[in-house]
Amino acid sequence: MHWRPVYAVLEREVVRMMRQRTRLLSAMVRPLIWLFVIGAGFGAVLEQPGVNYQQFLVPGVLGMTMLFGAMLAALTMVYDKESGVMRMLIVAPFAHYWIVIAKMLSAALAAIVQALLLLILLGVLGYVGADTRFGLLVMALVMTSLACGGIGMLVAAFTRTLDNFAAIMNFVIFPVFFLSGSLYPVSRLPVALKFVALANPYTYGVDLLKHAVTGGLPSGMGADFAVATDLLVLGGFSAAALVIASWRFSRESAYEPMIHILTGKRGG
């Protein structure tokens, strides 16, 4: 085990996150905007007796913070390739898949830290209360952040430059978020979208969060799957993502172009 190098990567992520105040601030503001603006608007349109749409949205925005937080942290892997910091990692004395493990854990850690900060805010605002199932919440935070880190690692392992960031936002982060049950119950989606949502691992993270924080909502607006299903899917996906990203990252054809980016020239 290489716990010290893994710790080094985690520590660097936290130090960088704490220095990028705007990143933290927007991680707090984005979900609150969704909760208050979208939540209030949709809530008025979808008015149903006994259902508070804003309350329904709480797990969704918690998940959103984790998804964005983990994705941004995972993409530091691409930043590291471009800026050259990756050189420090690839010359260190451990197998290169450890870089993927460490980066995935640091993405998960970034997600958890941001989710905890948001939870405090939501608690103060009265959206998360005493009926929260805290054991489940901890599990949901850990498993969802790992799965989000896994999505991030898959994207990062297949991305060469940060120029593609807008494309990643449009084609990865937004679809994963919108097609997940964050904004509407999966059971009420049209069939085609329902299949997409069922194939989306992030759906199960949001579902686990629903188990933890929206106990009071009527049936049909609460969680869609069993806790065990959520845990199984999230765990399975995270492991698979780790394996695929590690394989991709250690593969020579993926690795050598990176060396050339690193040295700035070919075979010199």
Binding site: H2, R4, P5, Y7, A8, E11, R12, V15, R16, R19, S83, G84, V85, R87, M88, L89, I90, V91, A92, P93, F94, A95, E252, Y255, E256, I259, L262, T263, G264, K265, R266, G267, G268
Partner: protein
Amino acid sequence: MNQATEPPMAVRARGLVKRYGEVLAVNNLDLDIPAGQFFGLLGPNGSGKTSTIHMLATLIRPNGGTAAVADHDVTLNPVSVRGAIGLVFQDSALDRTLSVAENLRFAGLLHNLRPAVIEERAAPLLEMFGLADKRRQPVGSLSGGMRRALDIVRGLIHHPRILFLDEPTIGLDLPNRRKIWRFIERLRAETGMTVLLTTHYLEEADGCDQVAFIKKGKLVQSGSPGELTQRLGRYVVEIESPDPDALASRLAPTLGEGLKDGDVVQFRYADEDVSRLAQLQSELGTLVRALRWRRPNLNDVFLWVAEGKA
């Protein structure tokens, strides 16, 4: 040769091959670097120097041949190799958003050093490289020379037995280049570490124990800088002429093939007696605008090697 008297080898490569598609970057390269040596790997751009270093550092895999670094095979045991070497790349490996101390802490932890050990080792290195009072500064605020120095400190924090320096002074001005070299000399004197250097500034390779010139991925010349310059000739004769082609063909029978560079043709001269050269001016008349001879240096070896005439 008696095996027992051979010094231990820091690097031993046999028949190394690296191919990128059609391009043969390294072509059947043999390399022996005894432990403790200061070794210069020289050659024109694209000659395969960086590919060679990256194969030895286990960052790319050879397509053929074998190499052992610090007695570990680079393909079978890359992690042990990486544990024994320090590598300073052509471009910075530092995180500009972190401070000097934070960068070293990150590099040290990656090499599994305890934080206290990192502090202990960083202090004298930062002192030696003139960075002791910059510990808390973000790397982004350092000058190019200081960043380079820090990058070398970064490559040394885990006390490697072998240090690879890939163009360590590229892009630096003369005072900073000199400073970096003084650091490296001091370091070698204090630790006896093996250093493998690639550089374009050949005067920097004059201090090497051994240099090897490679061209198109093949070793073309190797030896101590003194041997190589002597092998080139006793003197290098430079003649500036209004018609360098005519001059070259006129002198080819007596001085051998020349090396043209603009108006100047360079010849190699093996004899210590230069009286023959002194007569050239009157012999050649208006074909000579200026004539001088001097001792060859590594730059001359490099030029002759690059032209394929050495």
